[in-house]
Assembly symmetry: C3
């Protein structure tokens, strides 16, 4: 059974990846081919000619259109066949499948579901993106050998950090402070504040705190699979408000998960910070640390995935720390059920 949600915006590619050459990527199990029209707008088709099923990505761009490399059938970015060499009449069945695209935050987004619902206003908000006083580490990509829900599990679960990330960001200190969980229809939030404590080493190095701090971690998961981790520190005792938090040392780590297949996932990510914003070195350091940390996740999740496939089971015991992950999976299941109903209707 599929674990995919179709009516959602997924990052298909970073904008820089799509141009006047043909770019292929598999998303939700569909092989796709991307290019840009001459006016710069992105286009996508299923990477398969409706004639003999030759991959269209073996063909060539002819102006705005894509010509198959086998018999020259040519399609525009709406999927319409505009030419069949040696044949005047174009049968209505001679069309290629396409999907709605939008471009925002330096990424090309794709909507794999009902095109009537593809409203670009539903693309998740990337907070502070493009705002002055915020530095961006952008355009990052990793490939995970596991189902995307194994990753969303981790992204609302601080408990794994102590063990999986002991080589990078792991830290046993906060294990005793409980995590609170909230949810609405398309959003799960796990968070905690650790108050009146020593700044962690990174914060000591990057900030200029002279006394104890209150620090926070907010793990947002926007369904189906956009994660935003908001973390930072302020001087102990200050109000826990957006204004004060922005005035402290603060980061937003965004992870855009796009299922490739049921067992593999594209992991696009970017990072925003309000400290050392002009330091290229600080940016490179963030990129390295985050990459190393995510690769630790990738390594264990690939092994978890293999064992789940081998046994046909996802978990045998549910623990207290599974509260937020379990909520995500329930909301995903609900959304899938809705999509199945709509498809049947």
């Amino acid at each position: 059974m599929s674990s995919f949600v179709r009516n959602a915006w997924y990052v298909a590619a970073w904008s820089r990846e799509i141009g006047r050459q043909l770019t292929t990527r598999t998303i939700l199990g569909e092989n796709l081919v991307f290019w840009r029209r001459e006016d710069g707008t992105p286009a996508v088709l299923v990477d398969r000619c409706p004639h003999k099923l030759a991959p269209l990505s073996l063909g060539t761009l002819v102006g705005d259109d894509l010509q198959c490399g086998y018999h020259g059938m040519t399609f525009n970015g709406s999927g319409q066949c505009v030419r069949i060499p040696g044949q005047a009449a174009i049968p209505p069945s001679a069309s290629a499948r396409t999907f709605a695209l939008a471009e925002r935050y330096g990424a090309v987004w794709i909507w794999m579901g009902d095109p009537a619902l593809a409203d670009a206003a539903r693309i998740v908000e990337v907070r502070r993106h493009g705002e002055p006083g915020w530095a961006l580490v952008d355009g990052q990509y990793l490939h995970f050998d596991c189902n995307y829900l194994n990753i969303t599990d981790n992204l609302v679960d601080p408990a794994h950090t102590t063990y999986v990330h002991k080589g990078t960001i792991g830290n046993a200190a906060a294990e005793d402070v409980g995590v609170k969980v909230e949810q609405d229809d398309d959003h799960v939030l796990a968070y905690r504040w650790v108050n009146d404590s020593e700044p962690v080493p990174l914060v000591q190095a990057m900030g200029s705190f002279t006394g104890p701090v209150d620090r926070w971690q907010y793990y947002h998961l926007h369904l189906p699979s956009v994660s935003c981790v908001d973390f930072g520190s302020i001087a102990a005792g200050r109000e826990h408000s957006e204004e004060e938090m922005d005035a402290g040392l603060r980061s937003f780590s965004y992870n855009f998960l796009t299922p490739e297949t049921e067992t593999t996932t594209h992991y696009f990510w970017l990072h925003l910070r309000n400290y050392h914003v002009d330091s290229a070195e600080a940016g490179a350091q963030v990129a390295r640390l985050m990459t190393d940390t995510f690769l630790e996740d990738a390594a264990i999740l690939a092994r978890v995935q293999r064992e789940q496939e081998r046994t046909g089971v996802r978990e045998f015991v549910r623990l207290a720390i599974d509260n937020a992950p379990a909520r995500i999976r329930r909301l995903i299941a609900r959304q899938q059920a809705q999509e199945a109903e709509q498809a049947a209707a």
Copy 2:
């Protein structure tokens, strides 16, 4: 469901490949082992000892016979067990399966169907083979990662040439001239004449025409899978007869497709020409050009095959250019139905 026709002669190997060593090849899904008896006649057995299923190709030749490398059971080329070490009585079930062979045109041919029907007179005629005034490029082999019917499609389809072979023999000039298609019980022919036109570059280089030419392409497909492409040029206005065509610049390109499995095919080929017949260089040039051209087919057909396997579909739209390919597939289906009936009777 199998796409194989069993009652047919297939090229199993070039004659030079079969000798006093053991040679293995998979044909129609059967692993086979070939050798020559001391009198030079070829022999074949299924490559599997009936005892414990050890591949017989791990054994050794003992005179005309093949001795298994596991326990020494020995079989003659008719599949009879002639020795079981340590056991006097040979049970009747102790036999290995064999198939009818014939040798012609420098190749060993195999009949994978009903041995009672294996009449060597049914081997396809290779026109001009061995005749004076004709040069032969012989003994060529390629391996295709696709079902053999995806190749027969191409071999009666001039339309793909412009796109797939744009790096070799492709040429958009003749696209407007329609292809005529004829068929009988075991043969499909697609052909066209382009009259009163400039000689193509190769013909200009190889021939000595001073004015316009009439040129022809005849794509013969002898069921199930022997292709003969007859192409050439004569001075414009001359009679379109065999005699005149032989007096012009003419080639016969023979392709012998032998299914290896449902998804892979042995591609044996040879080429006959009536120009520069004593030039080794011209022969090498033909071999290079044809190889490069066929490898272009192999590349796109491997991708077509993968996509057909992925989707479980062979084509979504039928075009006008699919006339001849569709006839072949219908005749193949008819022949398979006949074989199924005979097998049931």
Copy 3:
């Protein structure tokens, strides 16, 4: 259908392989992780955390216990969960599966069946092990790409030696001397004596016989899969008693087969001899010769296995030489039926 017998002691590892690091091995299809407790006793768990199925072998030893590398759940060697970070109550379902172990003859043995039946007294006796006057080649390991019963076939079948081992120990001389077969409930024996004959080259080199010898081969198979080959020579005419045989030139070759999966097998082996007992060179020579010989078996059995998988058939003809192998397979089938009955009851 499984070919495994579960109520049996199998060699899981040589003792030297199990220590204060984590060692993984698949046995009877189960991924296992081994270690030693601080008191030196070996421990084993199924290599899979009951929480999210992360391999426990990615974790760390904490004293006697194994801590999962994902969320820190910690298990003792009995499989009990002793700690869940961030959660006081340990649910009863939070346990990992374990198996009975025993250590003997320099190996760790595992009982994969009903723990109530795991009596270490049932471990097969390795004759002469540790006795004065006997030299040991120990701790040898090979990996076979075939089902274990294809190996037990060979280990009671002298007939394959002439063909498979013609490069090592093969010898056609004794082919005419019949093999006698005996059996009881959990043991099959094939044996023969070749009397009053020239010593074979190895015996001439290693022994000091001046006249003809009587030589023996006893192929013991202790069910399910421990093989002992007892072979040697005594001066012709002496009594065929244990005492006389020990006084001659004698070897015991022990092969402990542990199914890894249905199609692969761990092959542990050791060798005892009563000649040149103080010669390291003789020991190295035995290790080399036996390894080369077993690799010849591994090569042909891997090919037999592939062909059996391809056809779904194990053998097509039964020969006289299959007497002992067939008895083993019948006894194994009987034991499996008993285990199935017990499991159902």
